[in-house]
Symmetry: C2
Subunit: 279 residues, 2 copies
């Protein structure tokens, strides 16, 4: 549970910190960012998890996400983990969409990945304990959100852990890794050929198999180059409709896959979370 | 006047662009960023210049400055130039605070710097013509702001060009390069030993010599490591008081020199500009 402070900067009245700890799940040091709004001593605040996309670390959303203004306004702690294990001894791949920076929030079962690539257990179990032990969080009020691969992560983690998250939202999530090239490439290498196991890491399949969310907000840019081939938003829309999950899926004209898009709608997503966390 | 588009992304309803052109002043290609809010065809909007600090390019404020929300709200075009000439043939220095990334918004007179290091003329004359020719700007409504070395740039350019800028503000400006180590190092190498010339590049000296601003907003973090030795905010405060320049100089508890500080107060500075540009 020991964490090392790498940096702390005052911002919007609170503290944006970057911390490091040794993860038993990944077998590596892991870095994460936490924003804690200003609050009275003894106050416990709700916590909003943000899972990042391919190639990202904790730093992308910290630098470009424009969330602090809204977290300060609503009194919400914002946690941004890394997207994969890191380090010289961690197996990797030359591609941007597999290996380091591309952990897909799963527990790999195949070698050489199985030892370190345990981002599911890291995000679902280990890091929450670290956050609970070190920050003024009310763990009964959690929300989760993410972008692209991190949208996939947010959706699948929320679907597999019913009741844990009062709010769930995503920017341009990978709706169904089993039905896109990113998943076709990554799932067999991380998980082997048993497609039943893949279904635990596919939001659409989890919904088909009976998992539910209280409701859902998704923003998706219509000018996103990945929309048609990789993200498959319509599959998520259909699955939610069929399952009766109230999903607000907004297609935004002219917006792409970048943080210029995410930052535009971050305020809406944090307001969505605040409505569900601060009541 | 030809500019090349390097990227354009929709953000907060407008377009964040990055452009390149060949500068006759610096003798190099120069990159700059422009944010244009959504507007009716034919509308001309005021323009707000943002000059960045040591080591920065156009990208730092574009990624971390959190200005687009407010520029969209107030209908203001935001221009972020680079801080120095760039390129393999441009003379440089190993230090972060001299040479590339450290143009100090001056026209160098000393070799080997004089050929390329002409950021004063570039920002005062050449780039405004490029902006006027390529974007829907109303050049009768200009404001200027900057951070650190860019705060020095904003103040000195505004002081030397009375009437051009309706609004002037700065984050943690270098108030008096003639009275700090950054200036002690850079001014003689760029400008030679004639201290009369140095006074054109020192806000406090310009005010002492009779230059004036309509008014001024400055935010300065009290936890800024550079405050005492390099920034010398009290000298600016004293000079404004003596000259009768209405200066709102706010010392902000706990804030440092970073974009975590700048982004916190960016909304205030754009509101300050909007009051003066949109009337």
């Amino acid at each position: 549970m020991t964490i090392e402070t790498l940096s702390e900067n005052k911002s919007f009245g609170g503290i944006q910190g970057v911390y490091k700890h040794t993860s038993s799940e990944t077998g590596t040091d892991m870095t994460f960012a936490v924003y804690v709004p200003d609050c009275k001593a003894g106050t416990k605040m709700p916590v909003l998890w943000y899972l990042s996309g391919l190639t990202c670390t904790h730093a992308n959303v910290m630098e470009k996400g424009e969330y602090r203004r809204f977290c300060a306004e609503h009194g919400i702690i914002f946690v941004a983990p890394d997207t994969s294990p890191r380090g010289e001894d961690v197996p990797d791949d030359d591609a941007y969409d597999f290996g380091k920076g591309a952990g897909f929030y799963l527990d790999a079962t195949q070698e050489p990945w199985a030892t370190n690539y345990r981002m599911r257990s890291y995000i679902e179990s280990e890091l929450p304990d670290v956050i609970a032990a070190n920050f003024p969080v009310d763990m009964d009020r959690q929300g989760i959100m993410g972008h692209s691969m991190g949208g996939h992560g947010a959706l699948t983690i929320a679907l597999r852990n019913p009741g844990r998250f009062r709010s769930v939202s995503a920017f341009a999530p990978i709706a169904s890794p089993m039905n896109c090239p990113w998943g076709d490439k990554g799932l067999p290498r991380y998980l082997g050929d048993d497609k039943q196991l893949w279904r635990e890491y596919d939001a659409v399949a989890l919904i088909e198999d009976g998992a539910r969310l209280p409701d859902l907000l998704v923003d998706q840019g219509r000018a996103d180059n990945f929309l048609e081939e990789q993200l498959k938003t319509p599959l998520l829309d259909q699955a939610c409709s069929k399952a009766g999950i109230p999903a607000t899926i907004r297609l935004q004209d002219g917006y792409d896959h970048s943080y210029f898009f995410i930052s535009t709608f971050m305020g809406d997503h944090i307001a969505w979370a605040a409505e569900r966390l601060n009541t």
